[in-house]
Point group: C2
Chain length 372, copies 2
């Protein structure tokens, strides 16, 4: 993987070398030792840990120390609501849901509709708010319980957020956000301030409860710059540094890069017609050979196959079956068409059920929202 | 007046050449024509207009056009609550109260406790909030009615303010606030964003009422940079540009500059012991001569006399009496001691009554506060 790649909160492109990211970002790899501790405490290991989809962290071991010492932690993650949700967005949410269940942790979920409005010239406040609600339905549909899940839509919670954010902002210079986020003098002053708004939910429970509460952020690694800044400031305002656990990006159905809303044919959206999914999956890029005959003779290459990636990242829990798929592909036993049909059926089933839960969530959403 | 002087939102020093400020800031002088219109509409002219304490404006004539066409305007002014109120702070509030009464205008009053917290290393959020309440008492004590006066303490109204501020911030680059306010890369990101929070109250009534409402800002001229920025952005977000009317600074009791909390001996605070005021006034800088004999023979110089300034700016409504004081001083008829006693008595009377109304305001403050 020698190609150029870019990972920032606004852009992810190219074939990503995750080992290099760990080095560049200065994070820690998730070690076998940490996974063993998680297995012991949770009673099992989520596939995203077994398969190192979550692969990197900061202070996850410290969170486990705290947990073992009887100190509960909160989970915090979020979403920039500029459009509908696709499977790539769901990836870390599945794992977050598992963490919530296994560690009985409260989740704070931030919808950064303010940032999307500030960043995108073509997005109105109404649209960013509409997508905040729509995206919340997807979150709720994954099974997060209202008793321990709080959704902060920034513009509806901005009294609480702003009051925390200014405590953070006082310790963050313009130079710092320029260096971390690549901001320039042409950046608008809302964007300049926004990193403090994104940092605020790390501390919201500590502020509301009046005591220091550890926070673990499960999220894709492109968000790491925000937390680096937040971790620098936390001790200055009297809070624990937020811990993090980072995941890889779900590849798109095309060649390379992460699943991206800007290329809708390469994405499976949660609101896609389940039948439509067949077409998208049948058009997916695979590691197959040009002809059936060659495939039988030479076998396929699951490493570059997006269909295999989807099974591996999301749709096949059974490690044995994953290994089987890989071997059958390599040996030429399994043809791409068969593999695609298997995946498409799984995705169709998931979407059908998800969409039902998603509609049910419309009646429940008020129980999740934190409104000032 | 060839001495160096500085006027920014954070610093006012030196002997101020107000004609030069009009030129430097690009504002308009308050003409006789405008004053005549105000006299006709209000039935009288406030001493701050007659004496050109309010001396400069932007679009005040446009506000009068709107008013004559039956379109009501709101008043907006504010205060950075970093300490107690002195007479210099009250100066524009007296005139604002008069405008409210004569034009039946709603007043939006902003307490920028967030900015004071962000700017000053030594000020806690608790202190800035405490002073917001204390300063509100002084405002209320001047007779502003709860039916048409809204006090926004920023951290208590930050949901509403932030939602308006991001609409403004989207159109303001970091370069712009650097150029206008002298911010640098070492400035914290809360301060960078703050100009959008200070701009927001111009539009709060328009947002809440869902229609465009003209806004007039009576304030000292050092705040002009904020409104220059706001006026640039207003049309881009669909609002009228806020109009302004600018006042001079009440001089301190010492030599030169405005009354400043950082030199408490030169200030009369509203919470000062009324008897204490005698001492401060008796120590004031005047235009008198070193000896009684010289004063009788040569007369004093009221132009540089802080005691005369206080009569002129605040305590002697009667223009004839002001002229009389001036002539008696110049001719040596009036000695500084007599003049000081007259002023001290007036200030003592004012403070005694103000402090009573100020204490009564503690029970009324809730009727004024806008809390999200």
């Amino acid at each position: 993987m020698s190609e150029e790649f870019t990972v920032t909160p606004w852009e992810v492109k190219g074939f990503i070398d995750y080992d290099k990211l760990i080095k560049d970002f200065g994070t820690q790899p998730l070690t076998d030792e940490i996974l063993e501790r998680v297995r012991r405490l949770a009673g099992e290991l989520h596939i995203h840990l077994r398969r190192r989809i979550f692969f990197s962290h900061r202070d996850f071991d410290w969170i486990l120390d705290k947990y073992e010492a009887g100190e509960k932690f909160i989970l915090y993650t979020g979403r920039g609501p500029s459009g509908h949700i696709h499977l790539g967005h769901l990836l870390p949410w599945f794992f977050t849901r598992w963490l919530q269940e296994k560690f009985n942790a409260k989740l704070i979920f931030q919808m950064t509709n303010d940032e999307k409005f500030l960043y995108r010239h073509d997005l109105s406040m109404d649209d960013a708010l509409k997508f905040s609600y729509e995206n919340s339905l997807d979150l709720i549909a994954l099974g997060f319980e209202p008793e321990r899940t709080v959704i902060l839509i920034d513009t509806l919670a901005s009294k609480t957020l702003y009051n925390i954010a200014i405590r953070i902002a006082k310790h963050v210079t313009t130079s710092t956000v320029k260096a971390i986020f690549g901001f320039e003098d042409s950046t608008n002053i809302g964007m300049m301030f926004f990193p403090a708004i994104q940092a605020a939910p790390c501390f919201i429970e500590s502020v509301l409860q009046g005591r220091n509460i550890p926070c673990l952020i499960p999220a894709a690694i492109d968000q790491d710059p925000y937390w680096r800044m937040t971790r620098d400031v936390a001790p200055k305002v009297g809070f624990y540094k937020p811990a993090q656990v980072h995941c890889k990006f779900l590849p798109g159905l095309g060649v390379g890069g992460k699943m991206s809303s800007s290329m809708p044919e390469t994405c499976i959206f949660t609101i896609d017609d389940p039948d439509e999914v067949y077409r998208k999956v049948m058009n997916a890029f695979t590691g197959g050979k040009p002809t059936r005959e060659e495939q039988r003779r030479l076998g396929g290459n699951p490493e570059v196959c997006t269909v295999f990636h989807y099974e591996y990242y999301l749709f096949e829990d059974d490690d044995k079956r994953v290994k089987e798929l890989e071997l059958m592909c390599r040996s030429g036993q399994l043809l791409c068409g068969e593999c695609k049909l298997e995946l498409a059926a799984k995705i169709r089933l998931f979407l059908t059920e998800h969409q039902k839960r998603r509609e049910d969530a419309r009646n429940a959403i008020d129980k999740y929202l934190y409104i000032d």
